[in-house]
Symmetry: C2
Subunit: 320 residues, 2 copies
């Protein structure tokens, strides 16, 4: 008898009972984005919604992974379980490691209360942008209450993904200006909590003033949450408890105000719209190959048919 992959429902039962290998397989199916990924989505979606996602983002080298590791330690000391999804290509979780971080992460490797997963999305139709919420829902559906999502805050897609957490922590360093210049506005927009990591270096107060000035300019309503700015030295776990207090305070604030519900609904609507768009793109790719396509292209090159008419003929519509 050959070894076969267990059906998705079976993997889900296993993962919900605490089997890490089953959980890892479910996430692999999501990454691969094959038909089984749709099955994973179908089965995990109704079970999700109880977990809370915290995004950690910032420039490469800002110390996000060290901070993630320190945060895991803090949560574990409080008896909380935690899952980490690392979609930062510079993260030691995803491979671009420096030894120190890797060793630090090993601290949690054998702890059953911690589940760490790096994301690779070859094959997934929607790339990171659609694979990430699906992976989060898998972790949520198997009962993880805290889900940390570590992303590098460089590039529009990455910043967008970071902004899709319930609470988003933007990690900066003293004298941060240059490293995040291109995405400053984007990062300011998604931040619920600011961390100035490596706060044992000089320039902490200037950076704090910079952030405060930008917050002034962004004209928050007087009822709105005002992102606190927490100085942290992640390598020594200094300030991590204050960071977590800020995250919990933000969670309470947006839960009470109804903002959490609104955010999640908005995200789901956006996700649905994006899935429709990706499905149609997929169709466009399917359409723009094959004999009929070649014939229409030849017609366009020979000027016997214009490009718009050719496109409409390919799509089986006239006008519209």
């Amino acid at each position: 008898m050959t070894r076969r992959t267990a059906p998705v429902a079976e993997l889900l039962d296993g993962a919900r009972a605490g089997d890490r290998a089953s959980l890892a397989r479910l996430l692999s199916l999501v990454e691969r984005g094959a038909d089984e990924a749709r099955e994973v989505s179908r089965l995990t979606y109704p079970l999700s919604g109880g977990g809370y996602t915290v995004g950690l983002t910032g420039a490469p080298g800002a110390g996000k992974s060290t901070l993630t590791s320190a945060t895991i330690g803090h949560l574990r000391a409080q008896g909380e379980e935690v899952a980490v999804l690392a979609i930062d290509p510079s993260s030691p979780f995803t491979g671009g490691a420096i030894l120190g971080d890797r060793v630090r992460m090993q601290d949690h490797a054998t702890d059953p209360g911690v589940f760490i997963r790096s994301m690779a999305t070859r094959g997934h139709l929607g790339g990171l942008s659609l694979a990430t919420p699906e992976a989060v829902r898998v972790l949520d559906a198997v009962g993880r209450r805290w889900i940390l999502v570590e992303t590098v805050g460089v590039g529009q897609v990455e910043v967008e993904i970071a902004g899709k957490a319930d609470t988003t922590v933007v990690v900066l360093n003293p004298g941060w200006g240059d490293s995040v210049q291109a995405n400053k506005a984007g990062l300011m927009e998604i931040a619920d909590v600011f961390v100035i990591n490596k706060a044992d270096r000089k320039g902490v107060e200037e950076t704090r003033r910079d952030i405060e000035q930008m917050l002034e300019l962004s004209d928050l309503g007087h009822d709105a949450w005002r992102p606190p700015i927490i100085a942290v030295v992640a390598t020594e776990r200094r300030g991590v408890d204050q960071l977590w207090e800020a995250v919990v305070a933000h969670r309470e604030f947006i839960t009470a105000s109804g903002e959490l519900r609104r955010r999640r609904e908005f995200r789901l609507r956006e996700e649905l719209r994006e899935i429709v768009a990706r499905r149609l793109e997929q169709r466009a790719r399917q359409i723009t190959t094959g004999e009929r396509w070649d014939a229409l292209q030849d017609g366009v090159l020979a000027r016997t048919i214009d490009p718009w008419s050719a496109a409409d003929e390919m799509l089986g519509t006239v006008g519209a």
Copy 2:
């Protein structure tokens, strides 16, 4: 009797007989992108292919409009007719004018051998990227042999449009580095001819060496066209004749080598593919509104259906 717009075929006949108002109307239809735009496309496409497009691009303030104006003067002195399509928001043709340039342009305003049109593309499904080749084909179909397309070389879309000309002239200034930093690679890739405009300022030789160094790095094949670098003072029309000689030399080179044909075919294939993609996007927008969409969204928010299944239901497919 109310005044009605003439049918497209009638406008085309008028424009081909030299009526400027008819030509202007055809271009307005293209910009508006309504059903008549498809009719314009259908009728002009078989008539086009005889014109030659020269793109002029560069950073705002590089002096593109002054150069365009000087080039028009040069062509008119040789008895050539010319059409200009200005899709540069900072161009005096499109509105963001300084008085000097505007006056200079007025020189050509009453010349029947010159047709100048600025592009606005509100309403066009494909934006500038698809409206521009359509507008070029209109000018081509009514018999314009030289079509200058002025674009600002800032932003990916603009650089792409600039690169779609038969010959692309990239306009730089002495000490150009900073102004085009972000698009340097893109501009290097599309340039067939370099102009160092405002060459009466210092730094011309350094800029020339910069460009030459980058050309070395870009590893042109030994049979390939090597973009010449022409020093110009457009305000005094100095160097404009050499610029035009370089354009004509490039035209002869790519015509003889078959490159012109390959470029045009590649552009048409790309355009066709883009039209298909835009049509599908349009469908996605049509799909993601209405009662059925609202009901599916509500289902997703209530977690009675997952997003992928909802999207597939909306698209009328299961799987794929």
